[in-house]
Symmetry: C2
Subunit: 102 residues, 2 copies
Amino acid sequence: MKQQEHHFLLPATVDEASRIFKALGDPTRIKILYLLSQEECSVSHITEVLELTQSAVSHQLSFLRNLRLVKFRREGNTFYYTFDDEHVITILNQVLTHIECD
Amino acid sequence: MKQQEHHFLLPATVDEASRIFKALGDPTRIKILYLLSQEECSVSHITEVLELTQSAVSHQLSFLRNLRLVKFRREGNTFYYTFDDEHVITILNQVLTHIECD
DNA sequence: ATAGTATATGAGCATGTGTTCATATACTAT
DNA sequence: ATAGTATATGAACACATGCTCATATACTAT
């Protein structure tokens, strides 16, 4: 066994990374984030475009909001969501591009 | 609501992406992959360095093997693991760097 | 006020995940 | 052959996850 020095990660770093990856580790959330990476969307628009229930979308948006990956603005009854973490969108697009270009 | 055309993702693309992100979405697997990104390691070395049980490490390596994110070679009783997906390691390091440099 | 619309939220449930414990396998050394 | 070492694997269990269903909230229109 080699006797190198390792560079160790801080527990907080590992936790934060796993939280980000976990957020991206679900097909529904990937679709939502990918949609939001293209344009600002209302909840009902996401619901229609992705053919999901309103509740499922709303729960996932709540999840993404807690992680500060998306934000929203209100206009009357309509909530418009946009992504709120450029870096995570970049990572997502890198992976998607990598897969599609296989 | 805007009436743009969306670029849609293939279901297979979404699935593959979520599988990759899910693999990275666990602290133990992040630590293992990060270690392997630095050097080839035996199972027992991983076990000691990360202070995990042998079984937990072995199960996670099996998981990572199935996704072809790691590979191993055998030398007697000892199994040496290395990463097997440069792109995934790159993504992992990007996210880790981004977090640490906050 | 009343009804309608858009979204959020809580409970419940089925399924997935990560661990431990016990045991199997495969090799090495005596 | 036998004991020891390194790793893999299956079962079981606690906990997390993502959905649906029902309902709450907050605004709009009449």
